[in-house]
């Protein structure tokens, strides 16, 4: 009886841990989604051409991106008419160079 009660407590604690882990994960992914909702257009800096190109499902940036000077790898814009380069701030997304020199940043 004692062992059964202990097993039930262990199962309950395990389920609590699962709930906490899933809840934390849901919270962090919701935070990311909100950020994307505020700024729908992303432009990726193409080092070779020294331009910003729109990053979308079908158009991915080509060439390696390493943040150079004030040029961030990814900038946000409220329109698809081109980013405001003077803003110079990324969307809080990591620069490609932080993952590796040859990494790309993919968006949903």
């Amino acid at each position: 009886m004692k062992k059964l009660s202990l097993n039930i407590k262990k199962i309950a604690l395990s389920l609590l841990v699962v709930g906490l882990a899933v809840g934390f994960s849901a919270f962090t992914s919701a935070k990311k989604t909100d950020q994307i909702k505020l700024a729908p257009f992303y432009y990726g800096y193409v080092l070779n051409d020294n331009v910003y190109r729109l990053i979308s499902e079908t158009t991915e940036p080509t060439g390696d991106c390493i943040s150079s000077g004030t040029n961030q790898c990814v900038v946000i814009s409220a329109t698809n008419l081109g980013p405001e380069i003077s803003q110079g701030t990324g969307a809080g997304l990591p620069a490609w160079s932080e993952s590796s020199a040859n990494a790309y940043y993919f968006l949903d």
Binding site: V18, F24, S25, S99, F106
Partner: protein, 162 residues
């Protein structure tokens, strides 16, 4: 050697020895850590399935199997979570956890050594870590799981001796 000296030595040995109860709770604690990791990872992969699939499909040696792997991984993680929740299947859960983490680590290492371009972090368990950091993270968890299995075995051996 007199009795008093023997008693002092025995009490020191007793202090150093981990009790069976302590071993049981250590194993349980490590299982909870592994459970939390895989529960969060499985949730992320199911909710952001498209991102995970996209990342996998960019890996050259995975190719067309990306769609199957993109479902197999979270399903296996959920299965491991179920095994770890139930005390009776915890040991099996730890074995499968260790095996799965080893596979993930081999995948990360092969990407680091042979991939021409590293894809996004979307198919890593923790996206904020770099690929290199993730290798150490995985090795840490593998070490913990192996330690838990060893402690469990040591506890069973000491029970049999009595």
């Amino acid at each position: 050697m007199n009795t008093a000296t023997m008693e002092t030595i025995m009490s020191k040995i007793t202090l150093l020895r981990i009790t069976d109860k302590a071993k049981e709770w250590m194993v349980y604690g490590i299982s909870l850590l592994c459970l939390a990791l895989f529960a969060a990872a499985a949730y992320d992969k199911v909710v952001a399935h498209q991102t995970f699939l996209k990342g996998l499909s960019r890996v050259s040696f995975i190719g067309g199997a990306a769609i199957y792997i993109s479902w197999l991984v979270p399903v296996t993680e959920i299965l491991v979570c179920i095994l770890l929740v139930a005390p009776k299947t915890q040991k099996l859960g730890l074995y499968v956890f260790t095996g799965l983490m080893t596979v993930f680590t081999i995948y990360i290492l092969s990407m680091l050594f042979w991939a021409e371009k590293l894809p996004c972090h979307c198919n890593l368990i923790i996206e904020k870590l770099s690929w290199e950091q993730h290798v150490w993270f995985n090795l840490g968890f593998i070490g913990l799981a192996i330690n838990a299995l060893w402690l469990g075995r040591a506890k069973e051996t000491s029970k049999k001796k009595r």
